[in-house]
Amino acid sequence: MTSNSYLRISNLSKKFGEFEALKNISLDVYESEFVCFLGPSGCGKTTLLRAIAGLDIQTTGRIEQAGKDISALPPSERDFGIVFQSYALFPNLTVERNVAFGLENRGMARAKIRERVTELLDVVGLPDQGRKYPAQLSGGQQQRVALARALATSPGLLLLDEPLSALDARVRARLRLEIKQLQQKLKVTTIMVTHDQEEALTMADRIVVMDHGVIRQVGAPRDIYAAPSSAFVADFIGTMNFLAGRVAGDGVVEVRGTPFRCDTADIPPGEEVTLSIRPEDVILCNGDADVVNGLDTVVRYVEFLGPFCRVGLASDVFEDGEVCADLSSNMMRERTIEQDAPLKVRFPENLVRVFPARS
């Protein structure tokens, strides 16, 4: 056992009747870490979070927190604070009383409670809003109140279930940063559920990518982005172009008759595979010189996105689909790239990834 594993989940499964929402999940969360559960809607993120909280206890498996087996404990005997997507603020209590809610039945002196509430509202940036009711606050402010309430009792574990998804994009981006900073300041071990990859990439120390009740990959945001372990993860995180092909020999994959050099690892020749490359890794070629993995394409469309353009490329090799390339505005200035113009591009050998064919 790693010395600083704070939360250890072993062989966790959860069944709803016949349906298996979680399948044999094992995971370690370390002290003071910010972990994101990321995956498409319905993949079991909330179910896992609720099992950790004891709100819907797992069917089988074990959960240890701070070295203590909490598998069967009711939520009230566990040590966590939680924020829901709906915030679940008590509508009839003022902001102050919402934050004080968890402190009021611990035999704390009134003055002490008030002090702590003031401190917390300061921390979340709502120093003068204590007398208002939740309905009088904006969504973002309500979210902060919910956070303050969850942190009031200084829990060892902070659980956040899609805390930002009810907010508009601008507020979401700001709160993303604030929550992350707050977490770093307080050093509270935090698990956040989200289906938004950008949120996970920007906030998490480690991301747990989930799909259909299983963990597909665990790792730091950069690692997962750079080295996805499966086509699913590659597709879910960031944008990825996929081409169906077949291994032709060691280090060569053939896509509709065209060979591409890439790392085929130990996949034997003849095997169906999926070739993938990120749009920003597609490189423009100058002139007609023969290059490795070079390809003649035709521009389908050019989508201006500010710092870069997304260019849709068509070729016989792509069948009906197209490959996207993100070209920086700099690069675009040097060349005239317009619809229906021919364009030669290259897939760098070391950036092309090969996965077993997607089912």
């Binding site: 044999n24 206890i57 009711p74 009230s76 604070g81 008590f90």
Partner: protein
């Protein structure tokens, strides 16, 4: 192989219960036990009674055989069926047009028509019977209108029943018509659909479930009602009056039980179908709809005004006659005004004691009923785990709606009047009246509470648990204040029904616990019609006062909580 070994070694996690879980489960079992004793067990003893002979020996279905081969008794069943069906049709059509006028047109004076429509709820169903006697009885003012037909019989029953069930149907239809999506009408208008076609393709299908539901409610109410046929039915027999005659008149409890079972069966079927229909209605409700703003249409608005005025006039004539009868000396010979009829202590059918008993009983019912119902609904809605217990409890809570009052009352005799029953001591006291009335009106109150609780965020309890706050603190600090308007609705519902109910309590009141509504019945029996009218009006004043108070209090609560209720 490794995975296999692993799955074998894994045990199912058995969640440990917290102190809250224990308290909540224990409370739910206590309230469940109350429903068991107040509804389920009495019904059981009634059913077993229907299979016994006079000496208490089990004789299977022999009583039923006797019942169905006695032409007069069988005829009562047929009568109940067709009268209930006829009233259902009449009331449904009237209520639909009336509700349509209130929700979909720009008819003036809507507030007035809304107000008038609830008047029938304020008095026992007996009142309409009494009023009809004054209008069309042997010495009635408008007797000629019947062209020789007698009001004592099906005609009187149909008119009287239609009067008092009208508001019940109206409320359901209004709700159904209020939840339509304006976008459907915009689409119809954009497609240049004619008004008539829009009505049949959009309006009617949209409130179909509401109409069906209202139909079932009206049918059950009339089919099982006893007040109207008792007063105005003459020699026309119906099931509910049969029970009364068998039990009170002939002391034939077994046959009373048999008729009760016969009464219970269609009621339970109608109830079951209605629940299915309601489920579909809920699905419609949850869709986010744009509310419809009616547009003025002079011709339609005026037509509706005429129709609603006519209906309102009938209602006012009905209650007006009862009021008039209550304050004149001696119909039809001496029409001088007097308060003599309110001197109930001079009547044989019951005195002022009965009135005060009623107020007491209604208050106890409302207070204890609201507490029990709301807490019970909270436990069902917000409890953690214990699904079997919660489902059984919910089933118990739904049952009373399917049980006609007469059947419940008769069941109470069988169950509580048994000396070997440990609860026998409540027989003949105020307690049994309160218990029976809470039980009788449990379902609607329960559903009101459940609806209010469902509208609260489902995660309040999770948050509270994470903050280690005991559930009862969250209940008192958050749940009760947020649901206060709903609890007040439950309170007034129980109070009004307790004031006006006759059917269940008529079997179980004692000389010490005579009630106002029962007094109306007995006064009518004794031929003291003017006293009966005055007593019925006393009930109506009280109910009107209570409703007014409820309205003011609700306004006050809404105003003082406005800061946080706004969305």
């Amino acid at each position: 192989m490794a995975a296999n070994a692993q799955s074998l070694s894994e045990a199912i996690v058995k969640p440990r219960l917290s102190r809250d879980d224990w308290i909540m489960r224990a409370s739910m079992i206590v309230i469940g036990a109350f429903l068991l004793v107040a509804v389920v067990l009495p019904l059981y003893s009634m059913m077993s009674k229907s299979m016994e002979n006079k000496d208490g020996a089990f004789i299977g279905l022999a009583n039923f055989y006797e019942y169905f081969s006695t032409p007069s008794l069988f005829l009562s069943g047929v009568n109940s069926l067709w009268v209930a069906a006829l009233v259902t049709v009449i009331v449904l059509v009237t209520a639909f047009v009336y509700a349509y006028a209130l929700t979909r047109t720009c008819m003036p004076f809507k507030w007035f028509f809304r107000l008038v429509a609830v008047i029938p709820l304020l008095a026992p169903s007996l009142l309409s019977g009494i009023s009809l006697v004054y209008w069309f009885g042997n010495q009635g003012v408008a007797k000629e209108l019947l062209m020789g037909e007698s009001i004592y019989g099906p005609i009187g029953i149909v008119i009287g029943s239609a009067y008092w069930v009208f508001p019940h149907a109206l409320m359901i239809v209004i709700t159904a018509l209020s939840i339509t999506d304006a976008r459907l009408y915009e689409a119809a208008a954009a497609l240049r659909t004619s008004a008539i076609r829009t009505f049949f393709t959009v309006t009617l299908p949209g409130c179909k479930y509401g109409l069906i539901s209202a139909g079932f409610v009206v049918f059950i109410l009339v089919f099982t009602d006893f007040g109207v046929p008792k007063v105005i039915g003459g020699n026309f027999n119906m099931l509910a009056t049969d029970i009364y005659k068998q039990v009170i008149g002939q002391q034939n409890f077994q046959m009373g039980a048999v008729v009760s079972v016969v009464l219970l069966v269609p009621a339970v079927i109608a109830f079951g179908v209605d629940r299915l229909v309601q489920k579909k209605q809920v699905a419609l409700l949850s869709a986010r709809a744009v509310p419809l703003e009616p547009k003025p249409n002079r011709r339609v608005d005026m037509l509706m005004l005429a129709f609603c005025s006519f209906v309102a006039l009938l209602i006012l004539l009905m209650i007006g006659m009862a009021q008039y009868a209550a304050i004149i000396k001696f119909w039809p010979y001496n029409l001088t005004l007097t308060l003599h009829n309110y001197n109930f202590d001079l009547a044989n059918g019951g005195g002022w004691d009965a009135y005060f008993n009623s107020v007491k009983m209604a208050t106890y019912t409302a207070v204890f009923g609201t507490l029990i119902v709301f807490f019970g609904a909270y436990l069902v809605e917000k409890g953690r785990g214990f699904n079997v217990g919660r489902n059984v409890f919910h089933g118990f809570a739904m049952l009373p709606l399917a049980v006609p009052g007469m059947v419940l009352g008769l069941s109470y005799i069988f169950f509580f009047n048994n000396p070997s029953n440990p609860f026998n001591f409540i027989y003949g006291t105020m307690i049994i009246l309160v218990v029976s009335t809470v039980a009788h009106f449990y379902t609607v109150s329960h559903l009101t509470a459940v609806t209010a609780l469902k509208q609260m965020d489902a995660e309040f309890e999770s948050v509270a648990a994470s903050l280690k706050t005991p559930f009862y603190k969250t209940f008192l600090k958050v749940t009760v204040p947020v649901c206060l308007p709903a609890t007040m609705d439950i309170f007034i519902y129980l109070f009004l029904n307790a004031m006006t109910t006759v059917s269940a309590v008529v079997f179980i009141y004692s000389t010490d616990t005579q009630l106002a509504s029962v007094a109306v019945l007995n006064m009518d029996d004794q031929g003291e019609l003017s006293f009966a009218a005055a007593m019925a009006m006393m009930i109506a004043y009280t109910c009107a006062g209570a409703r007014l108070l409820h309205l003011l209090l609700t306004r006050g609560v809404m105003r003082s909580s406005q800061a946080w209720r706004q969305r």
